[in-house]
Homo-oligomer: 299 residues x 2
DNA sequence: TACTCACTATAGAAGGTGTCTATATGGTTA
DNA sequence: TAACCATATAGACACCTTCTATAGTGAGTA
């Protein structure tokens, strides 16, 4: 199989009908083009051009070759254009898997600003539990996963995002709970509202109690953070939520934080990707934004 | 624009999913492929493969590139196959322009044997006068022209074919003409049958007479050699024909040659092609056959 | 006819690039 | 843990691409 580079020279020569012009387009000298064409003709065993004093004309066989090479050349040009788009963020796609509640409250602002900055990058958001996210990552269905740390998997690269602090909150009805410090045992006397049992925040809090020899059983189990907030507000009980995600409610006084005697350990957002698989340009840009909010992306 | 040769390496690597396998297909070593891929990635500014312990996987961008390069590669493969066919005479076309009578009586046997030998070569036969043939050649409408020599044109390459000898023939009716030598003047007493006035054989014979101060005016003017023969046979007069083309009739006695006192100069078949334009493989093979009948073409 | 112009071909030299060998590194599996 | 199979890296060398300089050729023109 002939050196493909020769076909580039051939194409430009045939197109311009001149070795000299092809040389200019290739930023090389005319003898070099002459030599390349000769090489190609020898490799293929056929004369491709008739040399005249005004340039070169394709022979029959040269014309046949040209009809194919023209298309091949166009595909390569298209490929390079397309890749350039991908590099320039003028096209591309990112698939993100957000674990549970993190989707809306943590990810959404990033998605919005990213979309404003790179409007041609299509964003695809999948949400599920941490194990689902990890599976999707490994199957190539998503590029980036957003989960709670700690997470340990040799195939994953874990970057740490912001620190989040979970807490119990309640509405005005159980306001007495928020006046002094409360023990975990005391808390269990109240109706507890928790996220669905397969979520990592649920596992986290269940573990917190069991480490203290206590069994945490929710009165109500809900599937969204918004509902956890609402139910607490209107007095159904005490919700376990991420403090950062209820900042507004705490500030406006529609929710109150329950101060516990035992501190709830803080945790970090984990931005996970596959260790081996290089990120697409767009995905890399998004990850960079997550790691250093507001600092990246001036192009 | 990236070195096209790198795309060949890329394609084979992506297709096999392995640098080592691509290296084998390319008959080079694995580090060389590794280097080429790295170069390509640097040239394009994007990672194209994720390296694993089992080989390499395309990245998102790599997959995009592959979808284009695959097609380009296929076109190039097709091109090379097609050219190989042209080289092997398993496809191709020859356009031949035959001047007047030469078509049938001279060319036909060659065409038949050539077609038997290379059944996939399509033969296209055009006939016309010598100037038409030359014009068609220059316009690229035919590849080879068959004319009477002499012919002089700086743009033409003229190869000589067989020698032909023109003569006057007649049927039994004017048999007295064929018994002794006849002068041109004596011949003019008989009804002369000639080819159409734009033919080169007609010009040739008219010139022969005018050089001797005589005016040759035909009784009958015909458009085909077959008719010249037929008309002479059945006694319409004396036809001017090429002796080689009436060999059968002379042998079987249906025609008789008129022996002239002045010898008619013999002439040669000219195989003409454009000087600058290389012949297609098939055309070159045909010309070789014309030049050396029966000696070429054992493949 | 001779001159000029524009193009391609050729020769020889030099630098760059592709390829090699040898070896390191890393993941997977028994 | 060792063996195996992948890719990565380093350094050396040879080849090949490209260069400069020049020759050759045909077309157009005074």
């Amino acid at each position: 199989m002939v050196n493909f580079e020769l076909y580039k020279v051939f194409y430009l020569t045939a197109k311009s009908g001149s070795l000299s012009k092809a040389a200019k387009e290739l930023y090389i000298t005319q003898p070099s083009v002459s030599h390349s064409i000769k090489l190609l003709e020898e490799s293929l065993g056929l004369p491709l051009f008739a040399r005249t004093s005004k340039g070169v004309d394709l022979t029959k066989e040269g014309a046949v070759l040209y009809s194919y090479i023209e298309q091949a050349y166009n595909f390569i040009s298209l490929a390079e254009e397309k890749l350039s788009e991908l590099r320039n963020f003028s096209s591309g796609e990112i698939k993100i898997g957000g674990s549970d509640s993190l989707c809306k409250h943590y990810l959404l602002p990033f998605l919005e600003s990213f979309h404003v900055q790179y409007p041609h990058i299509q964003i695809n958001l999948v949400h599920g539990t941490t194990p689902e996210i990890v599976r999707n990552l490994k199957e190539g269905k998503i590029d980036i996963g957003i989960v709670r740390t700690p997470i340990h998997d040799d195939h994953l690269q874990v970057r740490e995002g912001i620190t989040i602090q979970d807490c119990f909150v309640t509405g005005p009805k159980y306001r007495e709970l928020t006046e002094g410090k409360v023990t975990l045992t005391e808390l269990l006397a109240y109706p507890i509202i928790l996220f669905s049992s397969n979520s990592s925040s649920r596992k986290f809090v269940t573990r917190l109690f069991s480490d203290n020899g206590l069994l945490l059983e929710p009165e109500i189990e809900l599937g969204s953070v918004d509902l956890l907030i609402e139910f607490a507000k209107i007095g159904f009980g005490v919700s376990f939520v991420t403090k950062e995600f209820v900042a507004k409610e705490l500030a406006e006084g529609s929710l109150y934080e329950v101060k516990l005697e035992a501190a709830i350990p803080s945790t970090k957002i984990g931005i996970i990707t596959l260790k081996n698989m290089p990120l697409s340009t767009a995905a890399a840009a998004f990850v960079a934004e997550l790691e250093n909010p507001g600092q990246v992306g001036s192009r």
